[in-house]
Amino acid sequence: MFRRLPDVDDATIEVTIDGRAERVRAGDTVTAALFSVGIESHRTADVSGTPRTPYCMMGVCFECLVVIDGVGNRQGCLVPIRPGMRIETQRGKREVGR
């Protein structure tokens, strides 16, 4: 869905996305990082289960909810990535205790 402009050659850090190790740009938010590795849909809708994509990138639409370091329903567009972060896309509702 998105590609990086050629001018951008910033440092990268390693995170885990859906269990896979990925190198992403330091300075990206979690949501931008997910887009940059080609993941378009980061969660499914609560009621129907259909795939959704982040819509606003500024923290008002709540379509960017993902699991970060084991805690679910976090707005990925507001969280800067950190080395070693574990990110998981959310399919269906969150589980209690995760």
């Binding site: 590609r3 001018d7 009621v47 606003c56 500024m58 329903n73």
Partner: protein, 470 residues
Amino acid sequence: MMDLRDTYDVAVVGAGPAGLAAAANCARAGLMTVLFDEQASPGGQIYRAISTTPLKRDTIFGADYWSGAKLVRDFLASGAQYVPTATVWSLTREREIGVSVAGSARMVRAEQVILATGALERPFPVPGWTLPGVMTVGAAQILLKSSGLVPHGRTVLAGCGPLLWLLAWQYLNAGLCVDAILDTTPRAIRAIRHAPDFVLSPYLAKGLRLLLAVRRRVRVIANVVELRIEGRSHAESVVYRTISETEQRLPVDTVFLHQGVVPNVNLAMAVGIEHRWDEMQLCWTPVLDAAGNCGIPGIAVAGDGAGIAGAEAAQARGEIAGLAAVKALRPETLGRVLPDETTVRACLKRAMRGRAFLDAYYQPMSQFRRPIGNTIVCRCEEVTTGQIIDTVALGCNGPNQMKAFLRCGMGACQGRLCGLTVTELIAHARGVAPQATGYYRIRPPVKPITLAELAQLPKNESALRSVART
């Protein structure tokens, strides 16, 4: 670990132009000032990523964007305490702020509170707007500015308003080809009476230049009156109709929607600030005096959250709100280190010039504010127009009863993406004005915080008694 004080002279919420200007003025006057913002770096949305963008070429974004850099520098040098990645989730009439940083919630008090939470994009509920591959123009700008990310493949922009053209222009500057702009700007008749003011405003020259540059290189389809996005699990095509023609279809990979911005009212409404329906801008704006004060002592609203007027007006209003706070707490410093209010008001007047024209010219058409039958209106709870209209027929005459019956507005976004649509749908179905129809009752937390965070906040005797069980 937050080294926040328990009380401040002034607390500002939002690091866009209004918040930055307000906080800087207060801090320079020697007031103990704190600014809370949700993002990791200052600038709000209009100056998003201004200090962190990886795209340093100033040929992409334009001079207006970079003018924000000075504002940020001045703020950072002013002495105000800057708290980024801070989520303000509640505010009381007694000016107690509930804020959460790094997973830990705190209550902070202030003598004066200035809300500068800005704007968000007006919902654009067309069929298919919830499909992956569909985002707002603002989202596209954020990805561009913050991360240097641009869309793959066939890209279509749809809607109306200056930001649409700005994005197209910025994409062209970045070397990206936009396949088409589907322009839903209504016919200009209503706007004509505001034209003289617009001609004299700074917006005309800038706007024309931009528009011409885009029109030279991008296919613009004007007078679009119907629009829907189709696809199975992803946006695959955009189907549209213009005034004079039959339906046309464009294959797409990404669609960016925009039809103007509206105040982000949730925090202001949660504290009980009265809002009124603006008939021109078709949204709710707070009822304020000339200094930005609302009816609640010590609380003011500045910036686009006080009424959409653009970045320069926001900055001026922020300055004015800051000066008002200084006047209330340390009037002896006025006129010494601070800008003169008359000058700032003159700036504001200049910045407001031509806005009425823009408002009238770009007022979205009703079919894009009140969608047809099956269109999802509440994205979070997946409630459609048809369901809402049927429930009006059941005697449900306002958004709060509607919320109770259909759950629209009960999702995570707290009505930010459906509230205006629901108000207008109910108003229209009943033949009643939006002002009389009302809006959702908003209460804290206006942003989510965890139960554990809430649990460790202070509780006084009466609070503990209220939950005690014999």
